[in-house]
């Protein structure tokens, strides 16, 4: 059996790293031969998760963001975005559309977008300790044309 590939990337919660993180995830996902639309979905979900670390987890300081990605069986991509920031007190409430603690600079649609673009989104969080978002997306296998 082919061993499953993975990456781990760590970076400070500086907003210039948003595009870096989604592009790294997109490059890693490319080995699953996604369509442009699937690639766009993955990059968008990563952008949402990483931006949340930068905006909410570390509101007035720089902290560490860890992004992991790996290939699972059945052409599935898993992405984990983890911070050690303020945490989320009520996860169900946070996942509701339009719920935001970010004022009028945010729309409260980040989790809604992650949920609609990925097959599975799991959020684990402890107030004061940090948040881990785990997302999975199966990439449709297309027939190779030779």
């Amino acid at each position: 059996m082919k061993s499953m590939n993975y990456i781990k990337v760590e970076f400070p919660s500086s907003s210039v790293n948003e595009s870096f993180a989604r592009n790294v995830a997109g490059c890693f996902a490319a080995q699953l031969d996604p369509t442009l639309e699937e690639l766009g979905d993955i990059k968008t979900a990563v952008s949402e998760a990483v931006t949340n670390c930068i905006v909410h987890a570390y509101p007035d300081k720089l902290g560490v963001v860890l992004m992991k990605a790996r290939i699972l069986p059945e052409n599935t991509l898993e992405i984990v975005v983890k911070d050690k920031g303020v945490g989320i007190a009520d996860i169900n409430k946070a996942r509701e559309p339009m719920f935001t603690t970010g004022g009028d600079e945010r729309s409260g649609m980040g989790f809604t977008i992650m949920e609609s673009f990925m097959d599975k989104v799991k959020v684990r969080s402890t107030a004061g300790k940090g948040t881990t978002v785990t997302m999975r997306r199966r990439i449709i296998c297309r027939k190779q044309v030779k």
């Binding site: 968008t44 930068i54 009028d104």
Partner: protein
């Protein structure tokens, strides 16, 4: 990320191009705010045809522009949205608040 503006007969078209994410959203918002305050248009079109990427930060930009335009007695809508950016707007259901016209 670039913000251009075309004006004709009380209608202002704001052309956004590049990647619209949190890193650039604040700058885009203040450019649009300044353009509205300076020109006081009756209609403000957000032309998203040039965007290669947009996340929820773009939704906040649209909602804020809509609010600002309502405050000055005008209207806003989105034009030329396609691909990834259109999927984001669809997932968020923004059409209920601001009209979105695709390419």
């Amino acid at each position: 990320m670039k913000v251009f503006c075309e004006k004709k007969n009380g209608r202002m078209r704001i052309l956004l191009s590049g990647e619209l994410d949190h890193n650039v959203a604040r700058g885009v918002m203040s450019s649009i705010d300044a353009l509205i305050d300076e020109n006081l248009p009756r209609e403000c079109i957000l032309d998203m045809g040039g965007l290669s990427f947009m996340d929820s930060s773009g939704i906040a930009v649209i909602l804020r522009t809509n609010k600002h335009m309502t405050d000055v007695g005008g209207r806003t809508w989105v034009e030329n949205c396609e691909g990834q950016a259109l999927r984001v707007l669809d997932a968020a259901g923004i059409d209920r608040v601001v009209k979105v016209y695709s390419k």
